[in-house]
């Protein structure tokens, strides 16, 4: 039988507010355990939540970015369950009336086609703390620094049909959140976490099969592997005539498998009800319009503009608009150097490679857009060759100054003086009489050898076009 997979994703993205969603405690990652948990976060008697308006603004910003319905009246509800890292015994979330309703996200796939993934809803909630099960002898440790950190939970329709599609959607969502500057997207630190609901059905069947929820997909690579593992597992179960159990499964990346965490029978009844400590959030149209004004140009729009304004290929435009800082950097380079294709090649090429090599964020780049643009201008005005530019770029990266300083200091200026190049050409020909003979007798592929020798003798500084020209004239005479 041919099987079809049906996938829905739930993403918890940490909103990058300075303080927590219901308290004034800081949200910064990595502080000493329990040093960033105030009495509200600790669930002390008599403590009350006060909503952080910034979290609301960020959620609305996301809703507007995916053109979703905005909940003009949303309600915080309590999700009740006991766990030591949940200090109040309930999580404040949204249930019946979320802040963001239906919307959609378009995902360009590898084959170039666009897939539309429906967004069911997105709601605000507080994160729980962390339980630590190692290093406490027979006990567990609880770190409540994360308790109360604002999250937006984004839930898709069951629209996804492969692990690759799931990853493409997750990457698109990740990029969008970064574009909107509402999430730092750090998956290692848990700022962007995905759970996948996976079920199988015979191809052509309308009804969904029984689903399993896969947790702990903390990288895109693991997401793909986990879903593919789960697809195989469920197909095996079904083909052996058994039934898939509705349950939560944990992905173990060391063993590359999913394992049952708890089945529906053991599942909690969360007893959701509106939180009486918080009033419903009533939004004014003017607030929404204010947020709309802060929306940046979104990735899809930016990509189309790059294609038309900078005459770039769809591929180049997609890569350059993949992240907002990279797109901004590219545009800053183009302001200095109008050769947009050249700029694109350098930003996607050496520049990105150097960032990767040094494991640096774009913001930490030692070469500013102005510096790179200035160097590109020295290529287009023939001061340096493209090859020398690589040396210059490396020097700029090492902090040796801007292009002109480096060219001057290292004497890298391109030789465009015909006489000087001619002298080198003559010298090369005189030193390689055998090759000259061979060339003249028809071994034309030796031309490249002469170019290389001349460039070498000029220490790369000779203008390559002029070298070509002169060599041709002299060898053919």
């Amino acid at each position: 039988m041919e099987w079809e997979v049906v996938i829905g994703l739930e993403t918890h993205a940490q909103l990058s507010t300075r303080s927590k969603i219901f308290s004034g405690a800081a949200t910064a990652y990595g502080a000493a355990p329990n040093s960033q948990a105030c009495l509200v976060d600790l669930g002390f008697p008599g403590q009350l939540p006060v909503l952080n308006k910034e979290a609301v603004r960020m959620a609305v910003k996301f809703g507007l970015a995916i053109d979703a319905e905005i909940g003009m009246r949303s309600v915080f509800a309590r999700k009740n369950y006991f766990y030591p890292d949940l200090p109040k015994g309930y999580q404040i979330s949204q249930f019946e009336l979320p802040i963001v309703g239906k919307g959609e996200i378009n995902v360009v796939q590898e084959d170039g086609t666009t897939k539309t993934v429906g967004i069911t809803r997105a709601h605000l909630e507080e994160d729980a703390g962390k339980s630590m099960h190692e290093g406490f002898a027979e006990h567990s440790g609880i770190d409540l620094n994360r308790a109360g950190t604002p999250l937006i939970e984004i839930v898709t329709e069951p629209d996804i049909r492969s692990a690759k599609e799931a990853v493409a959607y997750a990457k698109k969502l990740h990029a969008l959140l970064l574009y909107l500057e509402i999430c730092d997207g750090n998956m290692q630190e848990g700022s962007f976490r995905c759970d996948a609901n996976v079920s199988m059905r015979p191809k052509g069947q309308k009804e969904y099969g029984t689903r399993a929820e896969i947790k702990n997909l903390n990288s895109f690579r693991f997401m793909e592997k986990a879903i593919n593992y789960e697809i195989e597992r469920q197909v095996d179960v079904l083909e052996s005539g058994e039934k898939v159990v509705q349950e939560t499964r944990l992905y173990d990346s060391d063993k590359d498998e999913t394992r049952s965490m708890r089945s529906k029978e053991e599942a909690n009844d969360y007893r959701y009800f509106p939180d009486p400590d918080l009033l419903p959030v009533e939004l004014e149209q003017s607030f929404i319009e204010g947020v709309r004004k802060t929306l940046p140009e979104l990735p899809d729009v930016k990509r189309a503009r790059f294609v038309s304004d900078y005459i770039l290929s769809d591929y180049d435009a997609t890569i350059l608009t993949d992240s907002r800082p990279l797109a901004d950097y590219y545009e800053a380079v183009v302001i200095v150097c109008k050769e947009s294709k050249l700029a694109a090649n350098w930003v996607m090429g050496d520049f990105s490679a150097f960032l990767n090599k040094d494991n640096k964020d774009l913001a930490e780049s030692p070469v500013s857009a102005e510096m790179l643009g200035g160097m590109l201008n020295r290529i287009t005005d023939n001061t340096i060759s493209g090859k020398i530019a690589k040396t210059v770029f490396e020097a700029m990266w090492a902090g040796e100054g801007d292009v002109d300083t480096i060219v001057e200091a290292k004497g890298l200026k391109q030789v465009t003086d015909t006489g000087a190049i001619e002298a080198i050409v003559d010298e090369v020909m005189a030193n390689n009489t055998g090759q000259v003979e061979a060339y003249k007798s028809g071994k034309e592929q030796l031309f490249g050898f002469f170019v290389g020798q001349v460039m070498k003798a000029s220490k790369g500084k000779a203008n390559p076009a002029m070298v070509n020209e002169l060599l041709k004239t002299k060898l053919n005479s």
Partner: protein, 484 residues
């Protein structure tokens, strides 16, 4: 000195007739003696009190004193008090020293009031007799065999016995008004949102409201001036100016339209109490008020509605008492499950467990619509009744409780009969309205309270109406024998 009202003590301090330290010390001596038989206090904070009193005396000497600087009061043990044990009447918080002050406590400290201690209460404010306290029942000073009412029974008994001139309370379904009635004193529960809930340990968040017990309405007006006000730390706190509640006390009630709901005089109300309430309303008629019979047709829904909503909220509010971060933790713990089960089973009393179970049940999948959602609709109907009534009248009056104080132990085995003690008070919390109880007479030597219900934010009117009654009567001036 102990018989003086809050205002009289304040005057005495300002006139330097006595120092706050003398006053505090004398009240503490009496309190320690009398508390042995009343059990009104869980904690007496002698050293803190004397320290606060000396600071108050310095302020008075320096001419920096406020209206109430140096006057002793008591705080219900539901309000968090920094550095002082805050138990909420429960074993589960028996070892809990609060690291912060409730807004009400901050306000009282800022006003220079001296806290003598923390008063006994029903466990987590769940009860109408003060018998559910882990620290034992409080005795009614009018008859030591009787309950003082609840849940703020310790505060009510303390003011009735003249241990303190004022004590704070909280009222979720009648927990200020009913004990005020049973102890023959004045009690006010303001509009929901008027007094911040910050630092007030939650029972049912949408119903809980802080208030105060005093000997008379004038003193209640002074205390309301201290306690009321916006607090950004409580999202349900209301950002409205606080009027001078004393400014309108002396206005005449002539022409005042008083609504008397016929439903409050039907089955369930004891004859002796009914007579006293009718007589009190007659007294208002003599003062020139117009008495209008009104109907609150959904009154009978109040108790069932209350006993769905309050347990639902409490079942969630009390989840934080889990033995993990503070409070009682069972010694008998082998794993996470036993930590929760044993700490909570051993830490909570029977009534609290009963309400947690009711609340958990009504919020459960499959029952939520039938109970919780339906109760919310009934709550709306009850509020609408009041809204209609206040189109016609200025104030609503009736009994506070169906009977005077009952015997300790009389209703402990019959929770439903106990719940009916809040027959006339619960609806007011469901609607979020302000209410008062003032002494209106005695039935076989036990006090009976008249309940006044006002429209939203009409605390000043209620206090004025109460004060006018107290100018014409002297029920509020009577103290139980042995405590005068």
């Amino acid at each position: 000195m102990h018989n003086k009202s809050l205002a009289e003590l304040a005057k005495g301090l300002q006139a330097r007739e006595f120092s706050s330290e003398e006053l505090t010390s004398s009240l503490l001596d009496r309190l320690e003696e009398k508390n042995a038989e009343l059990n009104a206090f869980v904690t007496i904070t002698r050293d803190n009190a004397l320290e606060q009193a000396r600071a108050a005396d310095q302020k008075i000497a320096a001419g920096e004193a406020g209206l109430l600087t140096g006057v002793p009061i008591a705080q219900k043990d539901i309000f968090c008090t920094k550095g002082v044990k805050t138990t909420c009447g429960s074993k589960i918080l028996d070892n809990f020293i609060s690291p912060y002050d409730a807004h009400t406590v901050e306000n009282c400290n800022d006003a220079g009031l001296v806290m003598l201690g923390k008063t006994n209460m029903d466990e987590f404010a769940m009860g109408s007799s003060n018998e559910t306290s882990y620290y034992g029942a409080v005795k009614n000073p009018w008859n030591l065999d009787c309950v003082p009412g609840g849940s703020s029974g310790g505060s009510a008994a303390a003011v009735a016995a003249r241990l303190v001139p004022a004590a704070t309370g909280t009222d979720t379904g009648g927990s200020i008004r009913q004990p005020a009635s049973l102890c023959g004193i004045t009690g006010i529960k303001p509009t929901y949102g008027r007094v911040s809930r910050y630092g007030m340990i939650a029972f049912a968040s949408s119903l809980d409201q802080g208030g105060v017990f005093t000997q008379n309405a004038g003193d209640a007006a002074l205390m309301m001036g201290v306690m009321a006000g916006f607090d950004p730390r409580d999202s349900t706190s209301l950002d409205r100016p606080v009027p001078d509640y004393t400014a309108t006390l002396n206005e005449s009630v002539s022409g005042l339209k008083i609504g008397v709901p016929k439903e409050y005089f039907s089955e369930g109300l004891e004859a002796g109490t009914a007579e006293i309430i009718q007589a009190a309303i007659k007294e208002y008629e003599k003062l020139g008020a117009k008495i209008i019979e009104i109907s609150l047709p959904n009154s009978a829904l109040a108790i069932p509605t209350y006993y769905v909503i309050a347990p639902a909220e409490c079942s969630s509010n009390l989840s934080r008492f889990d033995g993990v971060r503070y409070g009682y933790r069972s010694d008998n713990v082998t794993d996470l499950e036993s930590l929760y089960v044993n700490s909570r089973s051993e830490g909570f009393g029977a009534e609290v467990k009963r309400r947690i179970m009711i609340g958990t049940y009504v919020l459960s999948a499959g029952y939520y619509d039938a109970y919780y959602i339906k109760a919310q609709k009934m709550r709306r109907l009850i509020s609408d009744d009041f809204e209609q009534a206040f189109k016609q009248v200025d104030v609503i009056m009736g009994p506070t409780a169906p009977s005077p104080a009952f015997k300790i132990g009389e209703k402990t085995d019959d929770p439903v009969s106990m719940y009916l003690s809040d027959l006339y008070t619960g609806a007011v919390n469901l609607a979020g309205l302000p209410g008062m109880s003032i002494p209106a007479g005695f039935d076989h030597g036990l006090p009976v309270g008249l309940q006044l219900i006002g429209n939203y934010f009409d605390e000043a009117l209620l206090l004025n109406v109460a004060h006018q009654f107290q100018l014409a009567t002297d029920f509020h001036k009577q103290a139980p024998s042995g405590y005068a």
